[in-house]
Symmetry: C2
Subunit: 344 residues, 2 copies
């Protein structure tokens, strides 16, 4: 009974294009709304501080595969992905609400496992689970989390604050979560062919953990505060370094020059990329779900940060018209495309 | 690869039992958390006022049928259902975030319709849509909304404040949304048998609107303020009057006596119940989705409220051990069971 006027397929726009299209006509009614759609989190003025809000929906088949994702880990990771969005605003997550839709294939014991993971993450990040909704769905599992947090007004980091000349910095290492996913997918294929086989995950603990049980870098926010560094912009790496650089570029109207030899990778992740016949640099640029922080700082803060473990200076911001490039190890300049994760 | 230790089916607990079971071990880390799971909304202390947070997931096939639900109406109703939860705390909704998972059967134009409905409700209720997530799912449509709002500390109404002797009051009329659903289901069955038939919805505008485009009773919150009445407890009627009375009873440790002849019903809804061979009283007690407010007030406020249009005094609170009963039109006392909507 509902009519269809013309038909444009969703995958013609991609995830980010779709969001931009749908939200272009939003009207704001409240003075307290500082930032709506378009950053890692929405920003509401509470008077003394800013409140940060973000929401994230995980769908079985699109975002996770229960063949190799224990429900406990799924619950933990769902919280981490949300906490990471608050962290990316230089803030601290405080509360979540959780909605779960599940089919009758899930038993109470299975959902308890999911909750154990949710609560373990709440404990690890000192977050209060204050509400939720549970409902049925004909097929699969859907988990939606909305996270709330706070940040002091002088500390907030948006995507749009990058200035030409700022240093581009990343925490931890890149690409490991993506390579962990490759290992799990390989073991799944073998298992489906030979159900009596034992998965061979030896020596891959770190990269599998990066995929199944990532952490949000709240320690980096604390470190920046301790070093008295205010990032000029920040974003978390959920879709891949290249994609996040494009988000910073779009929001701040700057370009970037990135140095391949500065990109941080774990040695095992490097080796597994080679084993799989993948370019380790591609894994670092396009592999998502590392939940590391990508941020920019003023060059005047260089002395404060140089030599700090846990972070790498990987490039710098340039004029918008110069675009986004990577200088390769062999000193060749490559234009860098977004390659953002396409959900559709 | 994940193991199953025993199996309890989800439908053994029911929706409310499941939530109670899963959330019983939640630990609270923040002093600002005034109320977590267990009321219409979570309550966070912002210093000057309380923030209210609620979340709601709507799943195609479980909560709506796109055969007779225009996507525009679905978007509108999704916002209203959430606003109603904030209203039920005597508060005012201010912001929402929206997550949508949709299969490839949906075109961009279809999702635009959904957004038109979301934004129309945001306009009607002066709410800012400040964030969201859009993603793919193999089948169907899932919409999750998290709403937040505020209430002054002296005005908040929980479920647990009912005192013996308080008057039980309901806004508007009951059962119409449920009867509207019956009409739509009937027309769907006829349509599936004879696809060239024209649906006959004449004379049923009000009850169909109650199902497809309900409103949240923000006017009642304003009215109570104007009359200088502080409700001792409040809840919205999403699952049915009987179910909500049991929630108030559980939270406040009181019983209720309800008078059948005081229950408000729209004349057309009454007639349609008779046409369908349903007891109109059962439709009022068990039919959900009216989104009216059910609240209790002190008897000393009776003079302020009597004669007010738009509300009906339908009973009063009694001692817990007296239980929940309805005095029928023929003056017989019936024990009232919950009959809450079972999602599983």
């Amino acid at each position: 009974m509902f009519e269809n006027k013309g038909r444009t397929e969703l995958n013609q726009l991609g995830e980010f294009g779709l969001i931009k299209h749908l939200t272009k006509d939003i009207k704001i009614h409240h003075h307290s709304t500082v930032k709506g759609v378009g950053d890692d989190a929405a920003v509401i003025d509470l008077g003394d501080a800013y409140q940060l809000i973000s929401t994230d929906m995980l769908v079985e088949g699109s975002h996770f595969d229960l063949m190799y994702t224990p429900l406990k880990h799924l619950g933990y990771k769902a919280v981490v992905a949300n906490v990471s969005d608050i962290t990316a605003m230089n803030g601290k997550a405080t509360h979540i609400v959780v909605s779960i839709a599940m089919s009758s294939k899930f038993s109470l014991e299975a959902i308890e496992e999911l909750y154990i993971g949710l609560m373990a993450a709440c404990e690890a990040y000192q977050i209060d689970l204050v509400g939720g909704d549970t409902t049925s769905i004909s097929k699969g599992l859907v988990v939606n989390i909305t996270v709330f947090g706070q940040v002091s007004k002088s500390k907030i980091a948006y995507r749009n604050g990058v200035k030409e000349g700022d240093l581009l910095v990343v925490s931890g290492d890149l690409g490991a979560a993506y390579l962990g996913l490759h290992i799990l997918e390989r073991e799944k294929r073998i298992y489906l062919e030979k159900p009596d086989f034992q998965p061979d995950l030896e020596g891959n603990d770190y990269i599998i953990q990066r995929q199944l049980k990532p952490e949000a870098r709240i320690d980096i926010v604390a470190l920046l505060e301790q070093l008295d560094i205010q990032p000029t912009a920040m974003i978390d790496i959920s879709d891949g370094l290249a994609s996040e650089m494009h988000h910073l570029s779009d929001a701040s109207q700057v370009g970037f020059t990135l140095y391949e030899d500065k990109l941080p990778i774990d040695p095992i992740a490097y080796q597994r990329a080679i084993d799989f016949g993948l370019d380790p640099t591609v894994a670092m640029l396009n592999g998502g779900e590392d939940y590391e922080l990508l941020f920019t700082i003023s060059q005047t803060d260089y002395e404060k940060i140089k030599g700090t473990m846990e972070i790498s200076i990987i490039g710098h911001a340039v004029a918008m018209q110069e675009g986004i490039h990577m200088i390769s190890k062999s000193n060749i300049k490559h234009k860098l495309s977004a390659q953002g994760w396409k959900s559709f």
